[in-house]
Amino acid sequence: MSVVNNIEDGEIDIVIGALHSDLRPFMSAWKSIFSRYHLIIVKDPDLKDDLQIPEGLSFKIDIYTKSHIDKVVGSSTSIAFSGYSCKYFGFLVSRKKYIVSIDDDCVPVKDADSFLIDPVAQHLRNLATPATPFFFNTLYDPYRNGADFVRGYPFSLRSGITCALSCGLWLNLADLDAPTQALKPEKRNSRYVDAVMTVPARVMMPISGINIAFNRELVGPALCPALRLTGEGKVRWETMEDIWSGMCVKVVCDHLGLGVKSGLPYVWRNDRGDAIESLKKEWEGVKLMEEVVPWFQSMVLSRTATKAEDCVAEMAKRVKEQLGGSDPGFGRAAEAMMDWVELWKKVGSGPSPV
């Protein structure tokens, strides 16, 4: 079957940021699910060892490393594509309509019969069916089999709008912050919530980069590698880049009339790292979040911003003007956002730059 929900396999890129050099366990775990798609693997430029990929795989993979990044982006940019931010390079050079991106320490979830649950198919279903951000449906996604809009849901809002972003969840090691995980080091997420829902318009949320999919044509430029912690590390507890990027994307989606869904699919996230170790580094991110949430919540973009890149450019200016003074990290984020928009304009479309 090469078409799921009117999306052809050829319209999809799976983008993986490789923060580990040995990708053999990862690729074996995902082989049956990923094999029909084109894969982009971007190696963290800070990773010294060569990537190890299993032999004889039948899928089409493009691997990009530091040299590709340097060639395309050059050295004059303020964007750092290291660590988890390396996947943004994959988003940039992809030429497909949809992107699914999963962290390299995640594997598929097994159902009660030990079959692998395919998160890619679920992400695509989420993106292919409308979102309903203007009114909350108490039976969650009305387009799912066996569900519908409930009594009291206005009929004029039942056709929904295009879903541009699908945010999945995680079993086992949930995406908690370091202080929370450090308090309960044994805590693991075992609750499988069988729902997808649209996050209502103008509602802010923490969008985790661990398990997401998006319509690159519509919102590609809005996922931007901008906010870097000074102590940014190689575990999610030591980053905020996706949270910042997610706030930008949500504002852009709300402004452009696009939907964001959250819930299924789940991936199984392997144990990694030490939350207590990461505590020190993450505090910076925690403090920054306190400032930016009210700021994002009150953001209203101008009517002339009708495309994602225009929205990002406008937001970047405001970050510089309104947040730049309170922390140099914001000033740098603004620069990175502006560079990202320029980069996107230059090499985000047309013939592949790599």
Partner: protein
Amino acid sequence: MAGFSAAVKPTPILKDELDIVIPTIRNLDFLEMWRPFFEGYHLIIVQDGDPSKTIKVPEGFDYELYNRNDINRILGPKASCISFKDSACRCFGFMVSKKKYIYTIDDDCFVAKDPTGAQINALEQHIKNLLSPSTPHFFNTLYDPYREGADFVRGYPFSLREGVATAVSHGLWMNIPDYDAPTQLVKPLERNTRYVDAVMTIPKGTLFPMCGMNLAFNRELVGPALYFGLMGDGQPIGRYDDMWAGWCVKVICDHMGWGIKTGLPYIWHSKASNPFVNLKKEYKGIFWQEEIIPFFQSVKISKDATSVQKCYIELSKEVKEKLGKVDPYFDKLADAMVTWIEAWDELNPSSAEKTAANGTAKAK
């Protein structure tokens, strides 16, 4: 997986602080199934329809029962705000209760089972929902962070992690889903078989369709906002009572800084009402809600409205002014909203003068 977990605190039962309000026109046999969970709680039964009919209440339940004659006697001319021949009359039960919390349930709702086959104690889950905070200001992707096994995710601002008071807990239904008539007609066989193991806060600024079949709320906080409108006999509309209450209470909760949760618990909804009858009742509502929703989405309550009653009176003025032009019904409804608040305040004078709640049966 590590079996490490802190000892779970038992949920308070709140037997003396919670009333169960049940509107009915037929019988209360369904209470037999709920006996293990409801026994010990005080019931307020609001008998709709013919007051000369006797409603049999199963043995062993402590209850008070009100029929139309009682409503007329107690409220006098203000009884006009309470619907007749419609389950909307249940809000009379909210008004006469003296308890802090209310759980209201329809008489065709039974105990559901969770995926393990265990019976679901819906009341206990509602109490858990009401006693733990809500988080309307920022969406938590792992749903209710206060639930055992859940938490706030990375990126959730710490300053928002205390949450706000929970005013309403909206439960869901297995089996017959709460669909409107057109959907019922198109999908007569659809049953809700999906157990979604989540409770979540409906974000601030977002409206939702509140169903009154399986609903609990903090009466002390928002009781006056849970007026179920003018429905049924002599009215041009039905099956929008809970919807109306839901839109009003959400706007007021957003204004007052309280939260509304939805999700668990599930009950088993056994009866599918006749879709043709429903269509006649809902018909006007389907058109009117297209005007009503934008109204509620944009209505502003002034800073001076510092009590729920004041918010509600303000809302009633807005309804009269902005929805009155949609149909004269809204004029009447706006007046009824005021009557409701007057009746509420009459029956519920300030707490200093309130008499202690008692559990004696006041059945006729």
